[in-house]
Symmetry: C2
Amino acid sequence: MDQKTAAITLTDVAEAAGVGESTVSRVLRNHGSFSQKTRARVMEAVERLGYVPNRIAGALASTGNPLVAIVVPSLSNIVFADLLSGITRTLETRQRQAVFAVTDYDPEKEEALVAAVLAWRPAAVMLVGLEHTEGTRRMLRASGCRIVELMDIDGEPLDIAVGFSHVAAGRETAERLIAAGRRRIAYVGHDLERDRRSAKRFNGFVEGLGAQGLSLAAVEICHAPSSVGAGKAGLAALLRRHGDIDAVYFSNDDMALGGYFHCLGTGLSVPERLAIIGFNALDICRHTPQPIASVLTPRIEIGMRAAELFLSDAPAQSLDLGFTLITGGTLSATTG
Amino acid sequence: MDQKTAAITLTDVAEAAGVGESTVSRVLRNHGSFSQKTRARVMEAVERLGYVPNRIAGALASTGNPLVAIVVPSLSNIVFADLLSGITRTLETRQRQAVFAVTDYDPEKEEALVAAVLAWRPAAVMLVGLEHTEGTRRMLRASGCRIVELMDIDGEPLDIAVGFSHVAAGRETAERLIAAGRRRIAYVGHDLERDRRSAKRFNGFVEGLGAQGLSLAAVEICHAPSSVGAGKAGLAALLRRHGDIDAVYFSNDDMALGGYFHCLGTGLSVPERLAIIGFNALDICRHTPQPIASVLTPRIEIGMRAAELFLSDAPAQSLDLGFTLITGGTLSATTG
DNA sequence: TTGTATGCGTTATCAT
DNA sequence: ATGATAACGCATACAA
């Protein structure tokens, strides 16, 4: 059932066109020289036979592999989907094919998956974050292919890194909250051990508070992936213990959205009684009755720039694409 | 910089272990027979040299290709991310690697991308929906690989189809709205030409209304991809023209969420004045102050089952995984 | 149990 | 401009 029609090959085309194999190869890749007449004959044969070049064979024979490996922690978070979009959009323009894998935020699994994709001898492997197991780092370095670490620049990249500083994002969020007059500030977050970047934001946030002589009034951590439900439950739990807080920093917008829904449901006035700020500036949060304050991260652009750097054979570097605080709405709409 | 360390090959390992190449190959794939002693020597050499098998060469040499191609319309919709998760999760257990591409809902682009992935001679290509260009269908059939069409079973599959009936989903939604006592029913949707499945739901919905002697009281279409913003603007526009409708069917949950936010923002009471129902049952919509009525679609399961069918070499078939109406909340919480 | 040789479908290097 | 031919790195008969 599989090979009903014995796959037709370059050789078949060459024969049908009455030319040599290398000629067909040259015509198809538009590389080297050939007359327009032979070109026409070759193309005719290709059309007639419905020939589809075998890239596996091509990749083996040629030096450069057109495959690019992408390894992300998750797909349920829109952030990584955006990243993927940016990357593939750029890759397509250069005939590159993406092979990808999902780690579920597990460093060991990441190591296994990196090993798996490396077996395809990709021209580059793009992965999220700067934290990897020693084994992962070793394999990556030994592979000789380009390595692109995405979304984070707080640390030493293996080769190319494209992202922004999560520590700075956390710190600036704290500063903004304080500038808005908030003092009893809490944090509601998710699994900090697995999501290293949210941990960095948390640290930056605490540091930002400390710089102004403040400390966290309360912390609620949900030991699970971020989700709207977790944010909602997290804020509810936190308020039960600390009814007096006046602002909450959520580990990301999914969590913040849940918190906001909790307030809507219980009639807690936002931002008067409680300010809310998240992270990522998801599209959804721009359309809630009150837009949710957040930090806009250039995810698609990160993906695109990362792919471009690799495609243009750029030197090793750490590229900071920054972020943008978006306030108003659930923070200081009227507090100034 | 690329090939600083000349990639080490099977031959190198064989030499280092003092055995033949085929022996190394057998040991590594745990296939055929070999003594434990040689096995140890081979593994030692593999470890020492840091050998990573070249799957490109392996795929070319062996008959079966471990690559599976996945072509989806978009990534910004969680639905497809879920689908991907389900597929890759299952594929991983069998050492299959996914190559993927995004069509942006463009049939022509789909054709080009299918051609591109086919060049990798995948064991299967999985794509969304049953509608494809004639060219796409021809290529797919000629390829001889397994074809898995996802998310839709309203039509003739090329090989395997796994999904549910969108027509039925639309029809049942209409029935439920009517059963809840709604009569002045409207529709707010997005780009029906590109998203064929939402068009099918729309048709089923209209048919469902017609069966009860009703017809659509108003329709608002946004000629763009679905989004929260579009849903919000769409409902606002619709209510401006038709203030008397008592229920709205949204093309999906992103749109419905936007509509719901519009109601929250303007104080329109839901579901008393206006019932809202969407499609997909996104996680977010389970946590809004009122859960948004919707149709739960088994996206992850569709991905998993699809991968399983292909892996188990199942015969051509159309597998209906159904859907589940979730009401309450924004529909008939008290209307009975 | 193990090694040798052939082939997979290209690309690339040479001649011609 | 074109055609042999040797890699590419592995799997797989087939022999030993």
